[in-house]
């Protein structure tokens, strides 16, 4: 009886569903034209950092978002909840952040480009899932719009407290790719880059944002879609019975089949062999760990991006990321006005750390100032690379009260050292 009802209702639904589909595809075409005129013509408009992340995700081809809304990242989920269904994508509000990260990993294994957005408390919950994405080499992107303080902290205040967590938060010693924008436009660009790198390197890429940039509105002109470079994962070309889910090759980039395409593979968080089946053999385990590391270290030139601002003749360098780099640029403008030679080195890729650029900076300048909105995190990386300099040459400016480091505070520090 039950069966009959089911089959009846399916039959009844089918034609209706078809017409609906037709209708929606007609609608979709119309809305795309509207979009082409209003959105893709892309005039200069005012846009929030979080909005830029959402539109960057859409332009990069993200078609699956699972998340749990949290200040100061909520706008990303809000916009994607409206936009993804219109474009045939999927938006799911999950019960929590653990489920969210698991959902985006699962969706990616089924072939979707997936992304989630969160803030500190959610980012902590996601750490295990991030490790799972890394060991299973599943492309996905986690956006973390940082808030101030441990636990719930100050939801609407900025801080840069998750710099080390984004690198070391997940257990088991796995490498990380973490990008860090300093403007609304760059939030858009680095979201696309994060999705691209996730697809290319088959890993979980983290986009670290400052609350101020997530909530800030700026005049911005996004590039026309024709100029947006989108990378898709490499698909296997071998027959299914030859396929290895984790294939070794020189560049440490291997093709990725999706579930349901006829390729047989196993996915587990346990240490696994090339087909994905669990293994305890030292050789295979070592190979797997090596691959996770080498796909980052062998491609460091592709991964690392830095901005060098007025560094040519600088005697003092400021090393800062995100919003703090903008305070630094304002301070540099004021200092240069008084004839002080100071420049800025800014990492757009914060992990892997730009060791070479920092070493060059340490050779070229007398003093490095590291302003950051935490109790001192980036400065340890600078000190790690400091060999022949006394400690006093690397100076820290720290602030953890919910306010930004102002240009004047950096200028004062600059004047202390000259």
């Amino acid at each position: 009886m039950l069966k009959k009802t089911t089959s009846n209702s399916t039959k009844a639904k089918t034609p209706k569903a078809e017409t609906l589909k037709k209708k929606s595809s007609a609608k979709k075409a119309a809305s795309k034209i509207v979009e082409l005129e209003s959105n893709l013509e892309r005039k200069t408009i005012i846009m929030q950092g979080n909005e830029a992340v959402a539109y960057g995700a859409l332009d990069a081809g993200v078609n699956f978002f699972a998340g749990y809304p949290i200040t100061p990242s909520t706008e990303v989920a809000e916009i994607l909840s409206a936009e993804l269904p219109k474009r045939g994508g999927v938006f799911i509000q999950m019960e929590d952040e653990i489920a969210s990260i698991c959902a985006i990993v699962g969706a990616s294994l089924a072939g979707a480009k997936s992304l989630t957005a969160t803030s500190g408390p959610g980012f902590s919950l996601m750490q295990e899932g991030i490790g799972f994405a890394k060991i299973t080499e599943t492309p996905c992107v986690v956006v973390n719009v940082q808030r101030m303080g441990p636990s719930t902290g100050m939801p609407t205040s900025p801080a840069q407290g998750d710099i080390m967590q984004s690198r070391w938060g997940s257990h088991g010693d796995s490498p990380a790719i973490v990008l860090y924008p300093d403007s609304v436009k760059e939030s858009y660009e680095l979201t696309i880059r994060a999705v691209n790198l996730a697809e290319k390197y088959r890993t979980c890429v983290i986009l670290l944002m400052d609350e101020v940039i997530g909530h800030m509105r700026e005049s911005v002109r996004l590039p026309d879609m024709a100029n947006v470079r989108v990378i898709n994962r490499i698909k296997p070309t071998v027959p299914p019975h030859w396929y290895k889910h984790y294939d070794e090759n020189q560049k440490y980039l291997s093709p990725l089949a999706s579930f349901g395409e006829g390729y047989r593979f196993h996915v587990t968080g346990l240490t696994h062999d090339a087909h994905g089946f669990p293994t305890n053999k030292a050789g295979e385990a070592g190979e797997m760990m090596d691959r996770l590391r080498k796909k980052i270290t062998y491609n460091i030139r592709d991964l690392v991006q830095i901005e060098s601002h007025q560094m040519d003749d600088a005697k003092i360098a400021i090393f800062a990321a995100g919003i703090t780099a903008r305070s630094a640029k304002a301070a540099i403008a004021m200092a240069r006005h008084e004839g002080i030679k100071v420049g800025l080195l800014r990492p757009l890729t914060i992990w892997p750390f730009p060791d070479d650029a920092v070493r060059k900076m340490l050779r070229d300048v007398d003093t490095v100032i590291v302003p950051e909105l935490n109790q001192g995190q980036l400065i340890h990386e600078i000190r790690r690379l400091t060999k022949d300099k006394s400690e006093s040459d690397v100076l820290s400016i720290r602030k953890v009260n919910g306010d930004l480091i102002t240009p004047n505070e950096i200028l004062r520090k600059i004047k202390e050292v000259i």
Binding site: T44, T156, M216, R217, S219, A333, T406, P407, N408
Partner: protein
């Protein structure tokens, strides 16, 4: 208006007064006038009450630091906000206060404009809800920082369709108050 240097505006008061929307409207109007803009805000977790401020920086050059530190213009809709931010107004800066709530002025600034914006919105427009647009329109007329047409266009783009008429009315009233101020 040709921008020589960046122009920093802080809109301050308490949560629920619509200051962040006011900031967005002002920022969007400046974009329509082809300026570079940043708009930032700071507010507590409450949706009503608590502190709230919106900063708008308008410039023709790249804006590095996005928060206003040395204001060209300060709008204060509460006593607390006025007390907190008054001393960061530059000497030549313009101070606009809502005398419905601001009763004490700790510093006599040269260019001070005092009007009971909330009371005016209540009596002339029927609700205090438009105080933000009323006072921002007053501000733009006094400072000349964005064009009237851009402000109107920005309002139409920034508020829900059913509230456009009310806010345009509030804007026009704000312009009128500015034109007649001190007469």
């Amino acid at each position: 208006m040709k921008m020589e240097k960046s122009y920093e505006i802080r809109l301050s008061g308490s949560g629920g007064q619509g200051l962040i929307l006011g900031g967005i409207i002002l920022a969007r109007a400046a974009v329509l006038d082809n300026h570079k803009v940043t708009q930032t805000q700071s507010y507590g977790p409450e949706s009503r009450g608590g502190y709230s401020r919106a900063d708008v920086i308008i410039s023709d050059r790249d804006i590095f630091f996005p928060e206003a530190t040395n204001f060209n213009c300060l709008l204060a809709l509460t006593q607390e906000a006025c007390d907190k931010y008054l001393f960061d107004l530059r000497d030549t800066g313009i101070l606009i206060i809502d005398t419905t709530f601001v009763k004490n002025l700790a510093l006599a600034a040269d260019n001070t404009y005092e009007l009971p914006f909330t009371e005016i919105a209540q009596s002339e427009l029927g609700s205090a809800i438009s105080t933000n647009v009323l006072s921002v329109a007053f501000l733009t007329k006094i400072t000349g920082i964005v064009s009237d047409a851009s402000l109107a266009a920005s309002i139409a783009l920034s508020v829900k369709p059913s509230f456009v008429d009310l806010n345009i009315k509030a804007m026009k009233l704000g312009f009128k108050l500015a034109e007649n101020y001190g007469r």
